[in-house]
Symmetry: D2
């Protein structure tokens, strides 16, 4: 059975920013979705901030989703509570979540991390990013050499305020000498969470073969693996909650 | 300079439940605070749900607090947003947080974990809990033998829905055969978070020397260690946030 | 392409201990190998302490092996240096290793852990073991309910002297009230290491459907995922080593 | 009671290499020991490869040692088995170990890690290293700003073949664009292990205030915290080992 992927993208920068429009005429989501669609292992849907209702993240849509890829930026604070709550619950129930680039500040990522998710940042310039593998052999870096280079990217620097990752798979350096944990994993409930750094809207990162390879690997890795029998894990839980709430 | 501790306790069960009133006539918070007060290493304040304003957790109080100990139960959902937000920010800025027993469902713990924090539970009976050390040598279990026993406690069982702890220091078994990760640590921002399981209000756990020893150790371990220079970590952060929000 | 599995078993207890002979007439290795052989996803070989040469672990055999399952006991100290060195190198190069029961004291496991790997233990009696899942959703516990029970097993208790696992997937309790981290993972180099507790030679654990399911899941999880391009990770390594050694 | 520190240094490069002799006329060990000696919190001894007997690491010396700092290089393979065995056992029993720079290839570090501990490396040139804090608030980086710079150091690059650290506290970038996890911690048995990258013998790193501050912090953090009651953790261990060995 194929892995059912939902690529979510804010979707406004590509209309408002000329460079982004040229690079991603159909939106970042289509650039990310297209390579996945080439494999029979995936079925791929997309949604944007403006999708109706619930930014395209209804219960029905998520019922048919195994892994969500999330790209957000300037509208992040405007994502509705009901969507953030629903995404969180789905991750706890086993849905995978791949968080990209500026979505480090998405409400769903901050919710799952419990921290500010802040980082250092520089007004966009052409900077060279080198991404180094720090855990060869991990499925998410399968097929990636010991490093790869993106000639034009936006700088993100430490301290990246996230909980200590379970696995730190890649670390970047930038022309300015900054470093950043660029590919990390966490577990939340029964779900797997991946953060992957590249992808500024005015650069061609989502046309880079290595970036796309990591994203595809991450989708495979984060997919739920089983009839998870969640009921059993939950049904014996504190029953006073029903009365007293929590 | 002494470590400044705030012991926070919901404070209602000890008035409403006869067994609790007998065991903790001055409240759970006083039972926890009293042993700490014997050492010149600590200055100890207390607060309860009914403390005014902000359940006793104003900015001024937290300015003078290094470590918060938190015990909550039936009123957890009623803790005000402003208090949860403030506690979270303080932990990210370096304040230590020790979460006890039923406060696994406190809003601040759930906020910091990003998960449901649910667990298995049985209507209170007299059950024997054995707590085993799984990481001897760690400062929080200093002075604790390879295990200790609480003859009367409430059962908590796995799956405990929290992120993989950075350190799992003690694991409990119960008469019914259940197990539970009873003493765990996480880091959030610059702050340290500890969860410690024992402490049902109708049992004498907060009069047990081993339990009190772990709590005191945890306070020492979770205390901020330094002039943290937070400004520097923050001031170079994404400046578009000021405009676009996050 | 199938995963190539080598089931290694000391192989002497089943000849010397009557109960073991009855339960495992073809050896523990055959009991573990048989269910894997039913799937086209695996090709399965076996070897024992007495296999010639190198206890059946020659370079040629390991060249054709993706995952090794290891069961050892009284002869562990007699396993040859060359075999331990070779196994370690293969794991660092990406081979998976599943360590079972008393093989916690195998030389290869101690070599990879860097610790004593000691634990508490009781002369074999009929004891009930309950194994609880502490990380639902992980591929290695796919298809396992929230717990399962083995009516007859040997007690292992904490402190289990291993490095903090990357993931703690199951925790056991025993009739005597002891607890044990029964299913854990670590990474070493490019290889994945799993420890799984059950499997005393005089009990029927390797005929238990849940135990066999976990082992099969672990094999799938620990298999190397890719053309690992080890050369690139190694070739730029300190060249003074060639001269000065290390 | 002061923390008893043993600074161990191979001690030959400073005699053979002119630049090292100028920078460290009394040896690297004295440069590291001198600042610690200024505090009443420490008592400091030193030893070198040539110390007699056992490279200065006899049982008697280690009986009087809480934390060992280790710097090694070209003679690492010649350190005697008995010394490596003894150091490992002491760490498992609670002694702290701080491993510096090229001692990533020391036998004791490789023994405790279980991996090759290899890394990328370039023939020594003047390269700028920037060390970034990735976990502010941790005691080992107390008093350190968000980063510090060493103008002249030797490049070490990922993949650094060590087990996933429990905590990654600093990450370096180098002029060539490489990155390295420069300050990491692990636990082994009851002991704490720290790796800290800087310290090439021909550069002035051990005269740098930030480097020395991290080393002092690490010594405080790695010191054993308690009467560890090891006996109890060990005495119930598998008794068949006495007969059968392990």
């Amino acid at each position: 059975m194929p892995i059912r992927v939902l690529v979510w993208n804010e979707g406004r920068d590509e209309r408002n920013i000329p460079e982004a429009r040229v690079l991603y005429p159909n939106g970042l989501h289509e650039a990310i979705a297209a390579p996945l669609r080439k494999s029979v292992d995936f079925t791929v849907a997309t949604a944007t901030f403006e999708s109706q209702p619930d930014h395209g993240c209804t219960a029905e849509v998520l019922d048919a989703t195994d892994v969500v890829i999330w790209w957000g930026h300037k509208l992040q604070r405007e994502v509705a509570d009901v969507v953030v709550d629903r995404l969180q619950q789905r991750v706890l129930d086993g849905m995978g979540l791949i968080v990209l680039h500026s979505a480090h500040f998405s409400r769903i990522f901050k919710r799952l991390m419990g921290t500010s998710c802040s980082l250092k940042w520089r007004v966009t310039e052409n900077e060279r990013e080198i991404l180094w593998v720090t855990r060869p052999g991990h499925p998410i870096v399968a097929g990636i050499d010991d490093h790869f280079i993106l000639d034009h990217e936006e700088m993100y620097g430490e301290f990246f305020d996230v909980p200590e990752p379970v696995e730190t798979l890649m670390i970047s350096s930038f022309s300015g000498g900054e470093v950043f944990r660029s590919l990390c994993t966490w577990q939340r409930g029964m779900g797997k969470v991946v953060y992957f750094r590249p992808g500024h809207e005015t650069f061609a990162s989502y046309h880079d073969a290595n970036v796309l390879r990591v994203i595809e690997n991450a989708v495979r890795w984060a997919a739920p693996t089983v009839d998870s029998k969640r009921a059993n894990f939950g049904k014996k839980t504190k029953d006073w909650l029903d009365a007293a709430g929590s």
